[in-house]
Amino acid sequence: MSTRREAFMSTHLTASSLRALTAVGFRPVGVVLGNSTTHIARPIGVGLDSRLSTLVRGFRGDRGELVPQEIQRMQSDGGGATPRRDPPYLVGYPCPHFANRPSVAGGKWADHFPGYNWELPQPGQAFMDCFGRALDRLTDQAAQFGAHGVVDIRVDISGSAMLQGNVGISLSGSAIIDPSSPPLEKPFTAGISCQAFAKLLTTGLIPVQFTMGATLLSSWIGCQSRNELESGYAKSVVQLGDALTQARDSATARMWQQTDVADAPFVAVTLHHAHTRASKTDYRSCAWSTGTVVQRFAPALAESGDLVAAAVQMARR
C-alpha cells in the first residue's frame, strides 16, 4: 500500500536519536506503518445478570461453550477449591453461607450465589491477531525498503478497550539499515527507542522481536463481592483484585508465548489494563502488554568487533 519514495529518508527520530543510530553504524530509511481494524464480536452471555445466567442456563463459557462439569465440581467442592488456572482461566468465589445457588423465593431473587472469574479467550485472541496483522504489514513495508530492522515502534490503540466492537491498532516505527549488508527477508522489530537500541548494541545485545499479549476476563460478581462493593466501609473487593492480577499475569504470559525465540529475555515491557462494568453483576478486566525480545550476540560474532555486522548476522539467524 506504500506510495512513498524509498530513497527519501523520513524518520520520527529526533536529532539526538539520529546521532546515536549513525554512531553505531545504522541509518534510517523511512517511517513504516502498519494497521488493522478488527471487528470483535460481543461474547455470548456477557452483560447478563450473573444470577439469571447461573439459574436459567447454567454457567457458560465463551461463545456458548458449556462448562457445567467444572462448575459442578466447584460447587461440590464448596466453590473455588480447585480453580483452573491454565488457560482459559476459571476460578470460583463461593457464597460464604454455603448456599451457592440463586433461587426465586417469594417472587424475589434469593441473594446467595457464587461468583466466577472466567476468561473470554476469543476477544483476547482477536486483539492479538489484530496486532499481529498490523506488525506483519509494518515488517513487509520495512522489507520493501530493504531495511534490516524497525525500531522505536509506537502502538496506538483506538476503539473499545474492553474488546467489544471495532478495535483499531496502528503501529509506526523507523526502518533502519546497515548499508554494507544485504537486506534481510524479515527485518527485526523493536519497541525500544533508538537511543536504547544503540545502548543495547554496544553492550552486545540485539532486539529480535516485538510482541503483544492480551487477556479479557469477565467477573460474575458473587454475593460476597457484591457485599464488598455495596458496603459502607472501605473494603478490598477480592474477586475484582484477583481478576486484574490474573489478567495482567496472563497478558504477560501470552506476550512471552508469542516469541519465536526460546528462553530469550524481554526488555521495555509495558503493561496496561482497564476495568468496566457491563451490568450490575458483570464486570470485565482487560490487560495487554507489549515487549521486545532481545538476544545476546554469539561469542564469535561479539569478538569480531564489528557490532553492526554482528547484529545483522544475528538477525539473519
Binding site: 500500500m1 506504500s2 506510495t3 512513498r4 519514495r5 527519501f8 529518508m9 523520513s10 524518520t11 520520527h12 527520530l13 529526533t14 536529532a15 539526538s16 539520529l18 546521532r19 546515536a20 549513525t22 554512531a23 534510517p28 517511517v31 506503518l33 494497521n35 488493522s36 481494524t37 478488527t38 471487528h39 470483535i40 464480536a41 460481543r42 455470548i44 476469543q122 476477544p123 485472541q125 482477536a126 491477531d129 489484530c130 496483522r133 504489514r137 471495532n166 483499531g168 496502528s170 509506526s172 544503540a198 545502548k199 554496544t202 553492550t203
Partner: protein, 249 residues
C-alpha cells in the same frame, strides 16, 4: 541582546539558550503567526471511503498561512531562521465549527553572519528544540523548513447487510483498514514531497497525528509533520557520542 540592540524575548529554556548559542546562533525574538479556519460541511456518501480533497487543502493552507506569517515576523527581525516552532490548534469558543492554528517559535540569527536562509530567501523553520538543533548541527546537518502533509479522509460505515453478516464474528474490517492506511500514506507522501521541493535529504522528527476536530468521527484528518534537513556544505568534524547507562531509571 538582539541585533537591533533591544533585549530579546525567547521561549527557550536556559539550557536550550546555551546550546543554541554554542551552535553559533543568537536569539532575536519570539515570533508567531496564526490563521483561523472555518470547517465547512462537505457532501459525501455514507459508505464511501474517499479523501475529502477540499478539506485537506484548506487545512494545509491554514497551517501554511500561520507558518508564513511567523516567517514574515522573523524576516522583519532580520533573522536567519526560527527554532522550536510549536504548531498548535485550538477550537474557538466564539464561533461554531472553526479552529485556529497558531505557530510560535524563537527567531535566531547566525552570530558569524553566515546566510542560513533557504533558497527562496525566507528564514528556515524547525520544530527542533535548542538541544536538538545543537545536536543536528554537530552531526553535520542543518534544518531547512517545517514540512507537513495533510489528508482529510472519510471512512465509510459498513452497510446493514455487511454488519449483519459480521455479527458474532471476529474478523478484520478490510475497508476501514485500507482507508486508514491510505490516508496515512497520503499524508506521509505529501510531507516528503514538500521536503523534496525544499531540496532536503530527509525529514527527521516526523509525527503522524489524527483528529476529527469539529467533525463527526468518520471524518478524520491525518497530519504528518517534521523538519526537513540537508547536509552542511562543510561539516565540522565532531566526536562520536559515548554510550552512557544512566542509573536514574
Amino acid at each position: 541582546v538582539s541585533t537591533s540592540g533591544a533585549p530579546f524575548i525567547s521561549d527557550l529554556s536556559a539550557s536550550e539558550f546555551l546550546l543554541t548559542s554554542a551552535a553559533g546562533f543568537r536569539p532575536e525574538g519570539l515570533v508567531f503567526g496564526c490563521s483561523v479556519f472555518h470547517a465547512g460541511t462537505m457532501p459525501r456518501r455514507p459508505k464511501q471511503n474517499a479523501e475529502v480533497a477540499p478539506l485537506s487543502q484548506a487545512l494545509y493552507t491554514a497551517r501554511q498561512d500561520a507558518i508564513r506569517r511567523m516567517e514574515d515576523e522573523a524576516d522583519a527581525l532580520g533573522a536567519s531562521g526560527v527554532v522550536g516552532v510549536r504548531l498548535t490548534l485550538h477550537t474557538a469558543d466564539w464561533t461554531r465549527k472553526s479552529v485556529d492554528f497558531i505557530a510560535v517559535g524563537t527567531a535566531v540569527t547566525a552570530i558569524d553572519g553566515s546566510d542560513w536562509r533557504v533558497h527562496d530567501g525566507t528564514p528556515f523553520t524547525s520544530d527542533l528544540s535548542g538541544r536538538e538543533f545543537w545536536t543536528l548541527s554537530q552531526s553535520g546537518y542543518r534544518p531547512l523548513g517545517l514540512v507537513m502533509g495533510t489528508c482529510v479522509y472519510h471512512v465509510g460505515r459498513r452497510g446493514g447487510t455487511t454488519a449483519l453478516r459480521q455479527t458474532g464474528r471476529n474478523m478484520e474490517l478490510q475497508g476501514q483498514t485500507e482507508a486508514l492506511y491510505t490516508a496515512r500514506e497520503l499524508a506521509m507522501t505529501r510531507m516528503q514531497e514538500e521536503g523534496s521541493r525544499l531540496g532536503a535529504t530527509g525529514v527527521i522528527g516526523s509525527r503522524i497525528s489524527e483528529s476529527s476536530h469539529v467533525w463527526q468521527h468518520r471524518l478524520i484528518e491525518f497530519l504528518a509533520i517534521g523538519t526537513a534537513i540537508t547536509a552542511l556544505p562543510s561539516p565540522q568534524p565532531s566526536s562520536n557520542p559515548r554510550t552512557a547507562l544512566s542509573l536514574d531509571q
